[in-house]
């Protein structure tokens, strides 16, 4: 593994914990193709009954925001408390909200 060009590409792994929940990012695996990525994701991240469905996608395909833009992107939301649905009463028994 000393030559980085010979390392297997990285894939991001998303697991759906149970029906009705969304897939959540849980980590990444190395694999040469999509099929192997799914197998490695299964063997690495669902060994303890964590999931009912898996997504993998090439890490290189992720487009990330620039940390340098964080101020312009995120700070304007800080003083807009009225955007939070905190003025509603959540009925009992509602989970995963």
């Amino acid at each position: 593994m000393s030559d980085p060009s010979k390392e297997w590409p990285l894939w991001e792994v998303f697991v759906r914990g149970k029906g009705g929940l969304s897939h959540r990012h849980v980590g990444s695996v190395h694999a040469v193709d999509a099929k192997m990525a799914l197998e490695h994701a299964r063997d690495t991240y669902t060994r303890r009954m964590e999931g009912v469905s898996l997504w993998v996608l090439p890490s290189a395909q992720i487009v990330a925001s620039d940390p340098g833009d964080a101020g312009a992107l995120f700070e304007p939301a800080e003083d807009k408390v009225y955007r939070h649905p905190t003025f509603y009463k959540i009925p009992d028994g509602i989970t995963h909200i």
């Binding site: 297997w8 695996v29 190395h30 694999a31 040469v32 099929k35 192997m36 197998e39 490695h40 299964r42 063997d43 690495t44 060994r47």
Partner: protein
């Protein structure tokens, strides 16, 4: 042991010895993810072995449980097929063994789900899902290595060539199988062979590999005639219970 107990013992020994063999990869596999893959398969096999050997002990009725059968039997008393005790070699050799065995085991467990012994039927129903994944995993690797680089192909060919002579034994029937079939407990292994060959040929075709040349079949594992490799495996696996009999933690 009567025939039915021996039948369960053989099923357990196959899984146990393959599980122990695969666990030797732990910490040594080509990549961290592959390490986990092989360890998962090993743990599945050991789980199957625990169930089958506990059943064999119960049927025997002499107070031996799965642990006693796994850790306090001598090499000649093991009834696993020779294929599962073969050394890991390189990764391709390990995968060759897994290909031949997992496809056999999936077909066998599928048939055993109809066993009149409810415990065997239940173990088979649970294990067949594990085994189906093992067969897929091994097949995918055979295709990748066989249809890969010159080196990976050469290694895959050599691995298959090593393991091929032990395939015949998987389907050999003897008086234990005959008694188990008569009791409605066992299955006709010979009848699984055609389906197994179809599966293996399909994988080899995908992998751009030819079937290895026929070799004189090596058999004898079922009656305790093992290769030199099994004793070394047992000396590792049984060391603790031999050195500290009955030790628990």
């Amino acid at each position: 042991m009567d025939a039915i107990a021996t039948y369960a013992l053989r099923l357990g020994d196959d899984s146990l010895i393959l599980g122990q063999r695969l666990s030797e990869w732990c910490g040594h596999a080509p990549a961290l993810e592959v390490d986990l893959s092989l360890a998962n398969v090993a743990l599945d096999q050991v789980g199957q072995a625990t169930h089958f050997l506990n059943l064999a002990g119960e049927l025997e009725g002499k107070g031996r449980d799965g642990d006693a059968l796994a850790f306090r039997r001598d090499v000649m008393d093991f009834t696993n097929c020779l294929l599962v005790e073969q050394p890991n070699g390189d990764f391709a050799q390990t995968i060759a063994r897994q290909l031949l065995f997992s496809h056999y085991q999936e077909l066998l467990f599928t048939a055993l789900m109809g066993s009149k012994n409810a415990t065997i039927a239940a173990i088979a129903a649970k294990a067949v899902k594990e085994t189906s994944y093992h067969a897929t995993l091994a097949s995918d690797w055979v295709v990748r290595l066989g249809d890969g680089t010159d080196e990976s192909k050469a290694r895959m060919v050599a691995g298959l060539d090593w393991m091929w002579r032990f395939a015949d034994e998987l389907f050999v029937m003897d008086e234990v199988d005959a008694a188990a079939i008569k009791a409605g407990v066992g299955v006709d292994k010979a009848s699984l062979r055609a389906a197994w060959e179809t599966r293996i040929d399909a994988v080899l075709a995908d992998a751009t590999l030819a079937r290895p040349a026929p070799r004189r079949a090596t058999t004898g594992g079922r009656i305790g005639r093992h290769s030199e490799h099994l004793g070394h495996l047992l000396s590792d696996m049984q060391f603790l219970q031999r050195a500290y009999p009955g030790a628990t933690w």
